[in-house]
């Protein structure tokens, strides 16, 4: 189907799937690696009022979820981990989601908007993109910081468009992507998966879980500690430094802190000038899901 500006098509039940696929292709063409669709009311089972698509777009029927890869294969293999602190996230799925929303409004005449994903109050996102990805069949929640893993690509980043247009929803994946078989074997021998071993909650890290018969039976994730790693430099670090600054009377000490490399890195992150919003990849670096794809020439 070709999108023509100004044309408005009715959603015919017979070709709903074809229209849905065409909308997904718009997302792919705009930079997404994968696009899935979730029914808006599927969120209701998992999140409270105030965090559902309907709360942001009354009459919402569908959520189109755009997924992109994040770091390239070469970035994953760079010997400098700082590289992914500054290049690990490019927001292309966000661009893709707004392109999809505009396409739906312009071509099909239904209301559509970019889903509010980034936290607006502390760490709380208005709408969970991780849940959206699960409901759209793009992946499942893993032991590693509850990150959504796609069975083919592993770590992905997600954005979404909410619309009043009824589309054909994808199904949630039938099997949990995590834990991988090699992780189950390691867990049976050592009591930890690779992600749990590199970032163990009981030894100053963020992650813990139990596995029985190859399935996750319990999980724990310390989001606040993870924030000090994954958002090492940014708003939170800056606020901490400002708190210290307000207690320093000595002008030389104040200057040393304000001119410090870490203060500058916090500022550059806030300005989205250089530091990425995703700055720790250690649990994902050791995750086997999708890792084979990182081996290129």
């Amino acid at each position: 189907m070709t999108a023509v500006a100004g044309d408005v098509e009715e959603t015919e039940p017979d070709n709903l799937e074809a229209i849905t696929n065409a909308i997904k292709q718009v997302g792919i063409d705009a930079g997404s690696t994968l696009v899935g669709v979730a029914a808006a009311d599927a969120f209701n089972e998992y999140v409270p009022v105030g965090h559902r698509p309907e709360d942001f777009l009354p009459g919402a029927q569908s959520v189109v979820v755009c997924a992109s890869l994040g770091p390239t294969n070469a970035a994953w293999q760079s010997p400098s981990r700082r590289l992914m602190e500054i290049t690990g996230y490019d927001f292309r799925e966000n661009v893709s989601s707004i392109v999809v929303a505009e396409y739906i409004e312009r071509t099909h005449g239904y209301l559509a908007m970019q889903a509010p994903a980034l936290p607006t109050s502390g760490q709380q996102p208005p709408l969970s993109m991780m849940l959206a990805a699960v409901l759209a069949g793009l992946g499942t929640r893993s032991i590693a910081a509850n990150i959504i893993l796609n069975p083919t690509y592993g770590l992905m980043f997600f954005a979404a468009a909410i619309t009043t247009m009824r589309l054909t929803p994808d199904h949630q994946l039938e099997e949990n992507v995590c834990p991988a078989r090699s992780c189950v074997r390691m867990y049976e021998m050592e009591g930890k998966t690779p992600c749990m071993a590199v970032c163990p909650a009981d030894e100053g890290g963020c992650i813990d879980a139990t596995i029985e018969d190859g399935e996750i039976t319990s999980s724990f994730f310390d989001r606040e500690r993870c924030s000090t790693r994954a958002m090492n430099f940014g708003i939170r670090g800056h606020i901490k430094q400002v708190e210290i600054l307000t207690g320093i009377d000595d002008a030389d000490q104040r200057r040393d802190l304000i001119y410090s490399d870490d203060f500058r890195r916090n500022m550059s992150s806030i300005g989205r000038y250089k530091e990425s919003v995703s700055q720790c990849f250690e649990c994902m670096r050791v995750c086997p899901v999708g890792r084979y794809r990182r081996k290129l020439k």
């Binding site: 981990r81 109050s121 502390g122 499942t140 929640r141 071993a197 590199v198 724990f220 924030s227």
Partner: protein, 118 residues
């Protein structure tokens, strides 16, 4: 029309009372997504699968003003770890990445952050 300071709004924006914060901080944090326990969608919806509560839900449960709950939550999120943790995190990432590049998954870094970063 009264000034904000005359209405007790000492900072212009809503700021939580320190005593209220100390009294409810642990309860609020425990109810939010700060520490995520068993939220995997594959866990059955028979009480095994859990989720954090919204500020509105917490306000209702604890009998607090929702603005106070939001403030307690946001301040507590910052309060959970000191600035030293941010420095340790940077050193942890250096050590973990270096260890992985030297020996892959078989050489996973499992220690405390090293004392120097660079």
């Amino acid at each position: 029309m009264t000034k904000p300071t005359e209405r007790g709004e000492i900072n212009g924006f809503h700021v939580v009372d320190p005593d209220l914060y100390e009294r409810y901080r642990k309860e609020v944090v425990a109810l939010t997504n700060s520490y995520q326990v068993d939220i995997n969608e594959f866990l059955p919806d028979d009480g095994s699968r859990k989720r954090g509560l919204s500020d509105a839900e917490i306000a209702e449960r604890l009998g607090l003003d929702i603005r106070d709950v939001t403030e307690i939550r946001v301040v507590a999120e910052h309060d959970e770890y000191p600035i030293e943790e941010y420095e340790a995190s940077a050193r942890f990432k250096d050590a973990a990445a270096e260890s992985y590049f030297e020996g892959g998954v078989k050489n996973l870094y499992k220690g405390d952050p090293p004392p120097t970063r660079r």
